[in-house]
Symmetry: C2
Subunit: 405 residues, 2 copies
Amino acid sequence: MKSALMITALSCGLCWGQAADDCKPNVLNIPEAKYPCVYSDNRAMFRVAAPDAQKVTVRIGRGFDMTKGADGIWSVTTTPLVVGFHYYSVQIDGATVADPSTMTFFGSGWQNSGIEIPEAGDGDYYRAKDVPHGHVGEQWYYSKITGKWRRCFVYTPPDYGTNVKAKYPVLYLLHGWGEDESGWYTQGHVDFIMDNLIAAGKAKPMIIVMDNLNAVKPGESAALFAARGLVPAPGAAPPAPGAQPGRGAVPGGRGGGFNLSAFTDMMFTDLIPATERSYRVLPGPQNRAMAGLSMGGMQTFTTALNNLDKFAYLGGFSGSCGGRGGTFDAKTACGGAFADAAAFNKKVKVLFLGIGSVEGPGTKTFSDALTQAGIHNVYFESPGTAHEWLTWRRCLNDFAPRLFQ
Amino acid sequence: MKSALMITALSCGLCWGQAADDCKPNVLNIPEAKYPCVYSDNRAMFRVAAPDAQKVTVRIGRGFDMTKGADGIWSVTTTPLVVGFHYYSVQIDGATVADPSTMTFFGSGWQNSGIEIPEAGDGDYYRAKDVPHGHVGEQWYYSKITGKWRRCFVYTPPDYGTNVKAKYPVLYLLHGWGEDESGWYTQGHVDFIMDNLIAAGKAKPMIIVMDNLNAVKPGESAALFAARGLVPAPGAAPPAPGAQPGRGAVPGGRGGGFNLSAFTDMMFTDLIPATERSYRVLPGPQNRAMAGLSMGGMQTFTTALNNLDKFAYLGGFSGSCGGRGGTFDAKTACGGAFADAAAFNKKVKVLFLGIGSVEGPGTKTFSDALTQAGIHNVYFESPGTAHEWLTWRRCLNDFAPRLFQ
């Protein structure tokens, strides 16, 4: 019995050795944590200490059942994963929880674990480099529309603090379903992407306001959101309809939900005025852009297509008012916003539609139909990526240089 | 069988109703989550879905075993808890994880759950109010000492962006063991505390730089930290020696650890110069303060007592170079920093020692001994609070008005 255990221990020692050689710690791990780790062929190994559990599964897109080792640690190596950032969770005897080995990321309405499958060679654009750095900071403002204090994150470019007379154009940038205003900063690396673009002279220095797309008016129900049957982002578990802001640490709470028209009202009544009071902002639609990912793209198109006197640049990253199949009638689609192509093209300097190649052809079809109807638009396809943050980082990296030129 | 189930369901329905009446959702819950909740007598009720688990325990200071209901949800109501912010975790069949019902908070080197037991009546000072708001933003800088990019959070006061010729004094403010540079912002509400103090005319507008106290030089081991046998903060599980920065999302990682002298070198070589390059900062020791909590207080005293030409204000919140018992010899204690009381008092305008009343008498004893030795110091005791963030919020609220006057 003893020697059997020793053999197990030895085998396990070899396993660890091999893992350490080949398998690099996930960059989103908590400090010093070696697991999960990622192999060069994009498989990932997960390890979870749950000595008394009967069944442990990692859920990353699909479930991978783990096997218990003699040390009480469960482990599994996945099949190769799509490159990019993935939310994931662990199921321990029926409980869905975050893996305590990683930092956590707000998605699907709760704090998921995260793993990053590195891009081969080309991920440099979202890394911190030795270039001038802008700031990401929070901005609190009171919303008359929702009757609550709200928080957004604001990126100011590297020269904002020193070039104190300069005014800047503004991009309003939204996250997706179940996420919050921290998403573009924490998962998206908006700051490094912009710092690098600005340093290379590829993008104009701009302010980026990242708000929370969840907004309800007093008395409205957050359940509106669930009733709409909108599709949750991948990795969702457990779903929490009506996701709200991230710090979660302000006594008094911030109950709420999602409502496309409430957000639009809130944006014009509260968010844009608060931004223009607090920052040195260039006026007019030619200095204002709006973009968002997934549900944030839907929100962008809902808000902006009805207010084209206020925005000259629009971006939908894996989300817009189209692309979900069906026939496209330029006269009636998207509330008739594209009925007069010449008028539209005059107002909108850039209409950007981005998508990951793994997400299907809907956005390409939509873009082609728009082109057919005479609507100028940019179609961007991120190769080999899914409905996930790597697609959206690449979208921003392509979209931002097109703004305010 | 069916009717027995129905009775169970009915009873459970009643339980939920009662809980909703008396027990208010923890303000740190994810959106829409009703549990954990806090009763008016400071007991908390926790609920965890783990239908197939054999044993589930909430660990908040001590363990509270949960009971499984017919719906597969485990629950427990604690004894009354100390007021303030508590890290906590859940054990599910031997796995220590965060409760998926709350936002997560970086402490003890991982992302814990958090619960806030409200202060009766007097927590207003750390809440968002309708006053001018400063900004908390991140600042990246390259450290020559550690050979790595580092991130700090920086609070700039409300008028920083508009009063563009003004220069400001700086408080360098540190977190505790196992935490990171996000602690004062996320758990501590540094921004609201300062906004409210400044709006009331109680504190001078100042910049607050919140760095990560973990720093090692290239080749140094993070294990240094463990070897020192330093005492972890409460709620620690699982301990992760050498805790490092929070966003955890920068490819390339940030391995590291804790080293009192490396941090001091890093601070003077990298952090202070980076701050003074990037912000409009008033020069000289009379415009520079340093403070920290727990291990951050130890770091503060280690750094500043050896460099009293650089700081005129020092704060130790539940941590300093003394207060852990033993005899106090003013000539030799703390490296002899207090040997010449007159010289010390001339250099240090405020020496602040704060503690929670539940933490024991060590700090009071230390303060009395300093007074006995002729060293001017301020002793602040937070009534009814532990080695936790409510003590430190109150310390900052008392300390900040004493600075730069």
